[in-house]
């Protein structure tokens, strides 16, 4: 079992006139910095906030009926559009965490890893959830001509989990960030209940954390 990630894995949201709208997951990578997938934030940085955990430990009972949310503003400080990554600053907040920022080079296919995030955030669900899986493959994925190291996780992911950290179970290091799941690019799909059925499989893509290290 890895260290408790509760205080280092933070939900991101946008303040709206109707209240906060959850966007995805982020992870602490420095005392006052969070990393997430760029597509979670997008090109609009207005009203971005980090949603502080309501629980003290992942072992606590999280109250799914509690609508309260304590937030603090975040600022997008660094962007790598080709790796789908961004680093956010959290002014006036000091985060303590145990993990180092490593690289997906350190995990071979078959290695055990743990992810932590906020699945079903598209439905407003704010439940920090740990998932354990293994590395299925190591792949280079192109994005507009730039190839990046990704690992494929043998697990299904849901909206809200983009930006979730992937920890190496052996070292506890942050080795990748969830960015989505495989989807064929050949044909248009249909969306049912906010879900593209072509993404309902256990082929999750996570980009190597080494690119985050370069952004700090």
């Amino acid at each position: 079992m890895i260290h408790d990630p509760t205080l280092s894995v933070i939900a991101l949201a946008r303040n709206t006139p109707a209240g906060i709208r959850l966007l995805g997951t982020s992870v602490a990578v420095a005392e006052n910095k969070l990393a997430t997938a760029l597509h979670v934030v997008g090109p609009d940085h207005e009203n971005l906030v980090a949603v502080l955990p309501r629980h003290v430990s992942i072992r606590d009972w999280q109250d799914a009926g509690d609508p309260s949310a304590h937030t603090c503003p975040v600022i997008v400080a660094r962007v790598d559009a080709f790796r789908d990554l961004c680093v956010l600053e959290v002014p006036n907040v000091i985060m303590k965490f145990a993990h180092g920022v490593g690289t997906a080079d350190d995990v071979l296919p078959g290695s055990a890893v743990t992810t932590c995030g906020f699945p079903h955030a598209n439905n407003g669900r704010f439940i920090q959830t740990i998932q354990q899986s293994s590395v299925g493959a190591r792949v280079l994925l192109p994005n507009n001509g730039i190839k990046s190291k990704h690992i494929i996780l043998n697990i299904q992911t849901q909206p809200g989990q983009s930006g979730s950290p992937v920890f190496d179970d052996r070292s506890g290091a942050l080795i990748a960030l969830v960015v989505g799941s495989y989807v064929p690019s050949v044909q248009a799909g249909v969306i049912i209940g906010g879900i593209d059925p072509r993404t309902l499989h256990q082929t999750t893509h996570a980009v190597s954390a080494e690119y985050i290290r370069d952004m700090l």
């Binding site: 997008g42 090109p43 507009n144 989505g180 495989y182």
Partner: protein, 162 residues
Amino acid sequence: VTVDLEEFFTGDAASWLNTLPSYQRTTVDILLASGKSYDDVAEAWLSASVAHETHGFGVGESAKIFYAKVLDEIHDLICTGKGYEDEQKRVLAEFKQGKTLVAATVTEAISPHVGSYAAFLSVAVVCALSSITKVGKNAWCAMQSERRRAENQQPPSGNLTA
């Protein structure tokens, strides 16, 4: 007062890239080495999102920033000064202090007009500044004026019904 920045957009066009942090500079260099132009790289940066054959699991709908809009704003700032009179004077004053400050000022100035933020736009702006230097400021301004004129003359898309 007319501000002429022509003399500042001379020399090595690629020197603007030195204003980028190394993690951005590295990928821009790869794309330029593959034969893409500065404008191609800027377009690629702004249109990059999730990786190939990847479905992102963020929740929000992501707006798209069009490079033409970025060019429009830089054209107004560098060439016409329209709406950017104060920023143009700042750019003129800052050129002596180096390209990093100029690139940051231009990016900060146009960000709210484009509807984005500096960290997201910086690569596209730096590529545009490189492109200006490559062809010369006056030639670039004339090209952009012509592009905007042509775009404004295009009929609106969509079907008209009686």
